[in-house]
């Protein structure tokens, strides 16, 4: 089949071809979606190398066992694959030592004027630590909902919860973060 045809095929067609050992179809799927799954993995692990390894593992799992994709049980490839990536990220975090929040990040106050860029950077650093300290489901909800191009409904499907439950998780996560980040808000 001509290479120019691959981008015209939708994900489900490509997956069907992958199940028939279609390496070109696999290549097309990888090129199409690597970036978005990498972004999600990075939000969890905060490390380029680890995020890349996780995305690679997820795609190779699909390549090695294409039968794990069951079209009759899943509506959309990306929703299903986000779940795989999230699970790999959570597995990776469980293997790592538990999160320890250090207090080495100085909190700015009115007495000492700091460079705005530095405050922003500190705030972001602190935010990442606080997100890592959230309960697993709240963290997942937050990471998915702020992922570009993923609607709340899709995020709820990835997590296997109802939309209301997802919104509740987000609200609880935000309440915790607002409290813990009050010096930066």
């Amino acid at each position: 089949m001509a290479a120019a045809n691959w981008p015209d095929k939708d994900d489900h067609e490509l997956l069907g071809l992958i199940q028939d050992r279609g390496h070109h179809a696999f290549a097309e799927l990888v090129k199409r979606h690597t970036e978005r799954f990498y972004r999600l993995a990075y939000r969890y692990v905060q490390s380029k190398e680890t995020a890349e390894d996780i995305v690679q593992d997820a795609f190779l799992k699909l390549w090695e066992n294409p039968g794990i994709w069951q079209p009759e049980r899943n509506n959309k490839f990306t929703t299903w694959f986000y779940r795989i990536v999230v699970n790999l990220c959570l597995d990776w975090q469980k293997k790592k030592r538990p999160v320890e929040l250090d207090d080495d990040i100085p909190v700015s106050d009115d007495r000492e004027p700091l460079d705005t860029a530095m405050i922003v950077a500190q705030g972001q650093q602190r935010l990442e630590k606080e997100i890592r300290a959230l309960p697993e489901r709240q963290r997942t909800a937050l990471n998915l909902c702020f992922e570009e191009g993923l609607s709340n409904q899709e995020a709820a499907e990835v997590m296997g919860v109802k939309l209301k439950a997802l919104q509740s998780l987000i609200m609880r996560a935000k309440t915790t973060l607002k409290d813990r980040m009050k010096h930066y808000l």
């Binding site: 039968g67 935010l127 702020f146």
Partner: protein
């Protein structure tokens, strides 16, 4: 009206730093996949063939399996044929003390 804490937090969450992926990430994954064979789902017949191919050349496994199978069948048979009727205790006494009359 100023920006609320909610909006500020939202802004921070939207602007979380993400280090860009390596430009060759997709190519690396594709290359790695080309080195790995695919596991196709096996039909029942293929599965049976593989099972026999794996196990038949190993006499130790066969011997152990036969032994376990024999024990299982033996135990289940023994359970079925063991007399469990102990409703007549006199018979048992007569058996234990054949020379003595009943008390």
């Amino acid at each position: 009206m100023g920006i609320t804490d909610d909006e500020k937090l939202e802004g921070m969450l939207k602007s979380r730093h993400i280090e860009p992926a390596s430009p060759d990430l997709a190519s690396r994954i594709i290359l790695r996949a080309s080195e790995i064979p695919q596991n196709q789902p096996l039909s029942l017949w293929q599965w049976m063939r593989q099972l026999f191919a794996d196990f038949l050349p190993k006499p130790a496994y066969i011997l152990a399996s036969v032994l376990i199978l024999g024990l299982v069948i033996g135990f289940s048979t023994a359970t079925d044929t063991t007399p469990t009727d102990d409703s007549n205790p006199i018979n048992i006494q007569g058996f234990l003390y054949p020379d003595e009359g009943p008390l």
